[in-house]
């Protein structure tokens, strides 16, 4: 269609059709009058943000004050070892360790006032996963919560301890001018701690839950 020779309205409509067909727009303005005008985003506009939310290291869930899961990200599903599709509309307390169920119920009921608690989830494989729940947002009877595995923080602390031991041993080595026996023991400590750090780093990278 030659847009130069078509009436302006038709030309604009054709241009809009082409832009949509070619995927050159990702939002529309909708609403019958100025007061109701709002931007409607196409799915593609959310894609990168969605990737960020799905793949971040923390779990994220939105659930009602009664504990029904409205939304969960992929990471949360991985953390508790349950397929994401099974989580929608499922009761959250079904994945919480029995001793903590009353606490999660209270947390959700008063979530507008309480910002965080520590509980344990019961993974599908039977392992317990200690986590910290942080309330991000509470509106319209729904709470959005970030789930941070405490095990990872504990591993990080262990790794830090190992590093400190290594530093001390290294300083000893540096200070020593004689005494091969002591040097040998320090080197052994360094070797052992390096192995520990290496193993922990691997586990943290793989996002394994606490098995200690």
């Amino acid at each position: 269609m030659n847009m130069e020779t078509t009436p302006p309205m038709l030309s604009e409509a054709e241009q809009l059709r082409q832009a949509i067909a070619l995927g050159e727009v990702d939002a529309f303005l909708v609403g019958k009058d100025d007061k109701e005008k709002r931007v409607l985003l196409l799915a593609g506009a959310y894609q990168r943000y969605r990737q960020l939310v799905e793949q971040m290291q923390q779990g994220a869930i939105t659930c009602s004050v009664h504990g029904d899961i409205l939304y969960a990200n992929q990471r949360f599903a991985q953390l508790i070892g349950v397929p994401l599709s099974q989580l929608y509309a499922a009761p959250l307390d079904g994945y919480v360790s029995v001793p903590d169920r009353a606490r999660i119920a209270s947390f959700l009921l008063v979530s507008a006032r309480l910002s965080s608690i520590e509980i344990s989830f019961s993974r599908r494989d039977g392992l317990l996963l200690p986590v910290r729940l942080d309330l991000v947002n509470f509106a319209d009877g729904y709470a959005t919560i970030l789930v941070t595995p405490l095990a990872q923080q504990q591993w990080a602390a262990v790794a830090e301890d190992s590093l400190n031991l290594m530093r001390t041993a290294l300083e000893t080595l540096i200070r020593m001018s004689v005494g091969d026996g002591q040097a040998k023991r320090s080197i052994e400590v360094l070797s052992r701690e390096i192995n520990t750090l290496s193993r922990l780093a691997d586990e943290i990278r793989q996002g394994k839950p606490s098995q200690t």
Binding site: E12, Q15, E24, V25, D26, A27, L29, G31, V39, A45
Partner: protein
């Protein structure tokens, strides 16, 4: 694109009224880009527009970015439906180009950028 309006200009000679840049023979191009926050197409449109202007209108253009996510009512003036949309306010006639401006030739035709302008 944090605010409702963001203006940028490569026109170092702009005289303030947005009509000319001091040289009466060279009009300043006033362009308004309607975006929706930082969606991929909005960001692409802004990047493509800046590149297009630098290549073809260096020193004689002004870009105003309107974020409709922040204030949808600002779309009224140009009856915006799809986002991103570029509006060429000056030089007349007023023209709209819908899309992310990824098709360079189409954008140049839409802006009515003739070789003499470049």
């Amino acid at each position: 694109m944090n605010g409702k309006r963001l203006e940028m200009s490569a026109d170092k000679k702009a005289n303030g009224n947005g009509k000319t840049n001091g040289n009466a023979a060279e009009p300043v191009w006033e362009l308004r880009l309607y975006t929706a926050g930082q969606t991929p197409k909005s960001l692409a449109a802004l990047a493509n527009l800046k590149r297009l202007c630098e290549e073809n209108l260096k020193g004689k253009y002004k870009i105003e970015v309107i974020d409709l996510m922040a204030n949808p009512r600002l779309a009224k003036e140009h009856q915006i439906v799809a986002i991103p949309t570029l509006v060429k306010k000056l030089p007349s006639p007023l023209r709209q180009i819908i899309g992310d401006l990824s098709d360079r030739e189409k954008a140049l035709v839409g802006l009515q950028l003739t070789p003499a302008d470049r």
